[in-house]
């Protein structure tokens, strides 16, 4: 009769845990992967050092003395000029010099606090929204935020109404304009897109036909064409008195364009909802409107979050096309500022800077969407 022997609890073999396992499964799982790993390492080796040299080690940081929220930070005796900045590395003082243009465009320098307040409010919004999840009056708070935030932002930036000096849309530019176009484009187009998606699934033939035609037409046309139409062709049809704002026309074009894309993304989500959900909603007596708002859309939109954000990120990048119709967004500022006779030949710095800012914003957006996904994921919560 064998005697039961208490086994010691042991750690797994060294090849099954930690860095060794990770390297083995991710980088050296087969000889092809091993070759690819070494090739990639070599590529990084020939690319990274020159880039770092240009951006940091050979670059000029002679900003002079910077006033940072009341603190005097001294980088050098005086600010570098184009001539003594050098051509081997980046000339970051140029970016510093043009930072205002990159951020606000031609916005009056005396009124900077207005866009700044809007930036701060936007930041605050991202902090507040996750906090209202379990708050008692969350519906009321959300609703008032949805109405108040765009209103306050518009009044602050555009001025007028006898409160603030009006600032013409021609003077808006840089990152401010990029953010305005992208956020207005996304926010306005989203409800239109949802309606179009529902329309395309509708049993009413006319609505279905209209939605399908609209979506397919817009998706078959490049954004540039739509911007051109909105900017140059549309005014030809309007009486000269009705010639409305160039930015507004661009925004309408972008919103309609994006709505078609959102519609297709949301349609994908709608199709993933099982028939049983529609039947159960019908069977308990909900109306068409209640069924969609209470049952179908919450589930469909949740599934669509990654694609909605993906589509939004595309739009954000596409906003740089407005440069073609004479609106000066952040990317347009690269060309504009490098035409400054005192700072000739500094496009590279401009492009690298704009790339970094864009990346920071879009990467944040993509992380934020991941968080939203996890927060709304009730289906598989255990």
């Amino acid at each position: 009769m064998p005697v039961f022997d208490q086994q010691e609890t042991r750690k797994p073999p060294i090849s099954q845990i930690g860095a060794v396992l990770w390297l083995k499964t991710n980088l050296f799982s087969s000889w092809i992967n091993s070759i690819l790993t070494f090739a990639s390492l070599y590529l990084l080796y020939i690319m990274i050092p020159p880039l770092l040299n240009w951006m940091i080690f050979d670059a000029s940081f002679s900003f002079g003395t910077i006033n940072f929220f009341g603190f005097e930070i001294k980088f050098s005796e005086e600010m570098a000029t184009n001539d003594n900045c050098g051509r081997v590395g980046a000339c970051w003082p140029y970016i510093y010099e043009k930072l205002y243009m990159y951020t606000y465009g031609f916005y009056p320098r005396t009124e900077t606090w207005r866009p700044n307040t809007v930036f701060a409010l936007t930041g605050l919004l991202f902090v507040i929204v996750p906090l209202i999840k379990n708050y008692k009056y969350k519906n009321r708070v959300t609703l008032s935020l949805i109405i108040l935030y765009p209103l306050i932002s518009y009044v602050l930036i555009a001025g007028g109404f006898g409160l603030l000096t009006p600032v013409d849309t021609d003077q808006w530019g840089g990152l401010l304009l990029t953010l305005i176009i992208a956020s207005v484009g996304i926010i306005v187009s989203f409800p239109i897109g949802v309606l179009l998606a529902l329309g395309r699934q509708s049993n009413l033939k006319v609505i279905k036909l209209f939605s399908t035609l609209f979506i397919e037409f817009i998706r078959a046309v490049p954004l540039i064409t739509i911007l051109f139409m909105a900017s140059f062709v549309l005014p030809l049809f309007l009486e000269s008195g009705n010639y409305f704002d160039k930015l507004l026309r661009a925004l309408i074009g972008i919103a309609l364009f994006q709505a078609a894309y959102f519609a297709e993304v949301v349609r994908g989500g709608l199709q993933a909802i099982p028939r049983g959900q529609y039947e159960a909603a019908d069977a308990i007596g909900l109306s068409y409107f209640q069924k969609n708002v209470l049952i179908i859309l919450p589930q469909a939109l949740k599934i669509s979050i990654p694609n909605i954000v993906g589509s939004s990120i595309s739009l954000f990048k596409d906003t740089t096309l407005v440069l073609i119709i004479g609106l000066f967004d952040m990317l347009a500022m690269v060309n504009l500022t490098s035409n400054d006779p005192y700072w000739l030949g500094r496009e590279t710095e401009g492009f690298v800077f704009v790339t970094m800012v864009m990346w920071a914003i879009l990467y944040t957006m993509s992380r934020y969407s991941r968080k939203l996904e996890l927060r709304f994921n009730t289906e598989n919560k255990n």
Binding site: E279, A280, A283, I284, G285, S287, L294, P298, K381
Partner: protein, 249 residues
């Protein structure tokens, strides 16, 4: 069964086609208030289609259905009125996965029957208690077992105080050990006098509570009888064959 009760459902000359396929052929069926009807038959015989016509989840092309005096037509207002009196339990539960159990129950009372949140919630908790899962009220459907989900679905369909309940193979998607917990709830309901039409293959259940059993095949009602005669004196060959197949195990 007492004959002095009024008909709550009157189906006459009902015909339905899916494209070219003739799914229901000339169905005539009257159901009295408080009656328990079990519908059985081989798959594809039209039994689900029949009960789905009663709350207009399926449109039909010919014939008429009267539910407590209201005739089913395309009129959205009428359909909603009928659906508020007829509730349905599905084979695959069809709970709303994005809402908690108690929110699943209060949805229709709040949005269709204009009850206050407080009232609806109290009633929902009472019903959950009755089907034995009050402690799961704040969970989400996917955290529950199949049997529990189906009991929630039954509670959800009771929330609107329906006059008629339709059961569309409520136990077919369940693991064998969970079937009895759902049947127990249904048996209890049957004894309370609610009108029920159940599509099911649970012959034990049929024998125990049904007033009438209807056998369908090929889109027609082949035979209908009380349980006693249905099981012991089957007239048609088709039914005898069917009973042999499902009762010999």
């Amino acid at each position: 069964m007492s004959d002095n009760k009024t008909n709550i459902i009157e189906i006459s000359e009902l015909n339905k086609w899916y494209g070219d396929f003739h799914a229901l052929k000339n169905i005539n069926l009257d159901i009295k208030e408080g009656e328990i009807i079990v519908v059985c038959g081989p798959s594809g015989s039209g039994k689900s289609t029949l009960i789905r016509c009663v709350n207009f989840l399926e449109k039909f092309q010919e014939g008429s259905i009267l539910v407590s005096g209201t005739e089913l037509t395309d009129d959205a207002q009428k359909i909603r009125k009928i659906r508020s009196e007829v509730s349905m339990v599905f084979q695959h539960f069809n709970l709303f996965p994005h809402l908690t159990i108690v929110d699943n129950l209060t949805l229709a009372p709040i949005w269709v029957h204009n009850e206050t949140k407080q009232e609806a919630r109290e009633k929902a908790l009472k019903l959950l208690d009755r089907v034995g899962i009050k402690d799961q009220a704040e969970k989400y459907p996917n955290q529950l077992s199949g049997g529990q989900q189906q009991r929630v679905a039954i509670a959800r369909s009771l929330c609107t105080n329906p006059k008629i309940m339709l059961f569309d193979e409520p136990t077919s998607a369940l693991d064998p050990e969970m079937i009895s917990e759902v049947l127990d709830v249904m048996i209890e309901l049957a004894r309370e006098g609610i009108t029920m039409i159940c599509v099911t293959h649970e012959m034990g259940f049929a024998r125990k509570v049904a007033n009438r059993i209807i056998f369908m095949d090929d889109g027609q009602i082949v035979e209908e009888n009380d349980p006693e005669n249905f099981f012991n004196n089957a007239e048609s060959e088709r039914l005898q064959l069917f009973l042999n197949q499902i009762l010999t195990h």
